[in-house]
């Protein structure tokens, strides 16, 4: 994150580009395309073409069974915009994103700050916090469905001494989304933790030394040096986390199937249900693009916010 590292990099790239330009040969064209071709084949077949094809599908009434492939114009989009279930799934997605991103950033930061103190047992801390990230969503869901079991679950059992009545974590409309959020935080916070830890270790020692000499205490240093130095990392973690949270599907499909009463049905789940359970591929493709637009919108808003906050150097 230090400015010197950035400028070094920029310089290196510049030299490389310049040199390669000088040594350019006519064969570069052929060789370049040949090198790109294998990736390009996958890229074209499994990313670009599906986008174009999906766009086409969204203007048709195509179904899973292949029936009804007629061109229907903007009918699917018009239906989507008036579909209360779709808007609800979008709102659920945004709500999940808000609920999950805040703890996923804050807890990761706290974990990283604590581990960065250099207390004994470094490997153990990293292991504990990061290990869940290595699990498949299915394993995470099996774990948490069991932990959240109203009668046999460890969570309710541990809350009982505090006078908490058994909670139907995944069956109660009030709690289901929170249950999914808790499981998600446990699962993925280790990733953000590692990113923070790497960033912390890149903060130059001299800054702390200088602050110490000036008489700044540890808490002072935390807020005057560490947190500001981490700002670019935080911005990136937030952006990536929001993008990751928006795409949530696995946990809700496996833990709640979108229920109870649709309270945890997220956008990707609705796309899946519309397409594969409801058979309506064309409509589902249209919802995909509406969702895509929402993602781009959220990204633009985020980049705007980040850009306006970032101090110019």
């Amino acid at each position: 994150m230090s400015t010197s590292a950035v400028s070094n990099r920029a310089q290196g790239t510049g030299v490389a580009l310049k040199d390669s330009r000088q040594s350019r040969r006519r064969t570069d064209n052929l060789v370049g395309w040949a090198f790109f071709a294998p990736f390009g084949l996958f890229f074209g077949l499994f990313l670009i073409w599906p986008i174009l094809f999906g766009l086409y599908l969204s203007f048709t009434g195509t179904t899973l069974t292949g029936a009804g492939g007629d061109f229907v114009g903007f009918e699917n989009y018009a239906e989507a915009l008036g579909d209360a279930d779709m808007w609800r799934s979008m709102l659920n997605t945004l709500w999940f994103t808000v609920l999950s991103t805040i703890p996923l950033v804050l807890i990761a930061l706290i974990m990283a700050l604590l581990v960065d103190l250099g207390l004994p047992g470094q490997w153990l801390w990293r292991l504990s916090f990061f290990m869940p990230f290595l699990l498949a969503s299915t394993v995470v869901s099996l774990f948490w469905i069991w932990l959240f079991n109203p009668q046999l679950g460890l969570i309710n059992d541990m809350l009982a001494p505090f006078g908490v009545e058994p909670i139907a974590w995944l069956q109660d409309p009030q709690w289901a989304m929170h249950g999914v959020v808790i499981a998600t935080v446990w699962w993925t916070v280790g990733f953000n933790f590692l990113l923070y830890l790497a960033a912390l270790q890149n903060i130059p020692e001299q800054q702390y030394e200088a602050a110490s000499i000036d008489g700044a205490g540890k808490w002072r240093q935390l807020f005057s040096i560490t947190i500001p130095q981490l700002a670019p990392t935080t911005a990136l973690i937030v952006i990536l986390q929001v993008l990751a949270s928006l795409k949530i599907f696995d946990q809700v499909y496996q833990m709640t199937s979108g229920g109870p009463g649709g309270t945890t049905r997220t956008a990707v789940l609705y796309i899946f249900e519309t397409g594969f359970t409801g058979y309506r591929f064309g409509y589902s493709a249209a919802i995909s693009f509406v969702f895509f637009a929402v993602i781009i919108l959220v990204s633009i808003i985020q980049i705007r916010i980040t850009a306006s906050r970032r101090p110019r150097s």
Binding site: S20, F35, L47, W49, I51, W125, F130, A198
Partner: protein, 298 residues
């Protein structure tokens, strides 16, 4: 994107171990921090512990109230024997391994070649192509499931290994990460070889790739973990139980004998075991790999 620059720098792959001076003075604070850290670690390990204990109980004990860490009827490996006896788990583990390895190899091969082209070869349309590849990072693969499935129907690839593997090979962020790395390799190293008449592929193979080992292993680790754990696409494309991967099989196939808690946890732990064991052995490399590719990879 400054963070990407620094984290992809080869320097940063060696984690700083030096500690801030003067910390020892805050004894009470450090003890408080240690307590908090221990509490958090215990919280994070608790689900594993509970799953493990449950999996070692008999079904009767696992489903008994009030719940307990103890097993009145004694701990047993029964659940593991039953789960493995069904015969599905080894098949799914094999499918996971096979598909993840092929995906990793193909991804590394295609992305490294493309990244090298973007880094070193001034071919026509390079800038434009690079822009398209980078821009595509914003597309969440989740929104492509419908057209992609339809396409796989047309290719007759539903319920095949190919259908499972091929769409997972596209990883534009990895091209970006690798290009950044290749950009830093001094061009002089290649120039010398070119004077000797080596062609591009040879240079790539004998000079660039060996120099890129750290980043390649980082990318490989990231891609492998992602492929091993991927759920949505394998779930959509595979219906044949003998072709399922671990996460999909675990979610899809149920026991004819109803919900069995100990067996559920035994299955979950068996599915989790390979990566966790791998992690215990290669903790440093994996953490490094994730931290290196993290920003670009998500």
């Amino acid at each position: 994107m400054t963070a990407v620059d620094t984290t992809t720098a080869p320097v940063s792959t060696t984690p700083a171990t030096s500690r801030k001076p003067g910390e020892r003075r805050f004894g009470a604070g450090r003890i408080a921090a240690l307590v908090v850290l221990i509490l958090m670690a215990v919280t994070w390990l608790l689900p594993f512990a509970w799953a493990l204990v449950t999996s070692l109980k008999s079904e009767a004990d696992a489903g008994a109230t009030p719940i307990s860490w103890l097993a009145p009827n004694g701990y047993t490996l029964e659940a593991y024997e039953n789960v493995l006896g069904e015969g599905n788990i080894p098949v799914w583990a094999f499918n996971s391994l096979l598909s993840s390895v092929i995906i990793t190899v193909l991804t590394i091969a295609t992305c490294a070649l493309a990244a090298y082209a973007f880094s070193r070869l001034d071919f026509a349309g390079r800038k434009w192509l690079f822009f398209v590849v980078i821009a595509s990072i914003i597309i969440p693969p989740q929104v492509l499931i419908i057209p992609l499935f339809y396409q796989m129907l047309a290719f007759n690839m539903v319920d095949t290994y190919w259908g499972l593997i091929l769409p997972q090979v596209v990883a534009p962020p990895m091209v970006f990460i690798l290009k950044k790395f290749f950009d830093q390799i001094p061009i002089e190293l290649e120039d010398a070889a070119r004077v000797d008449g080596a062609n591009r592929l040879r240079i790539f193979w004998t000079i660039v790739l060996p120099l890129s080992r750290p980043i390649l292993s980082a990318v490989a680790i990231f891609v492998f973990i992602a492929a091993w754990n991927n759920f949505l696409w394998p779930f959509i494309i595979i219906n044949d139980t003998s072709l399922m991967t671990l996460p999909v099989g675990l979610q899809t196939v149920k026991s004819a004998y109803g919900v069995q808690y100990a067996q559920n946890m035994a299955m979950a732990l068996l599915a989790a075991a390979p990566l966790i064991i791998l992690f215990l052995f290669f903790q440093r490399q994996i953490i490094k790999g994730i931290a290196t590719t993290g920003f670009g990879g998500q």
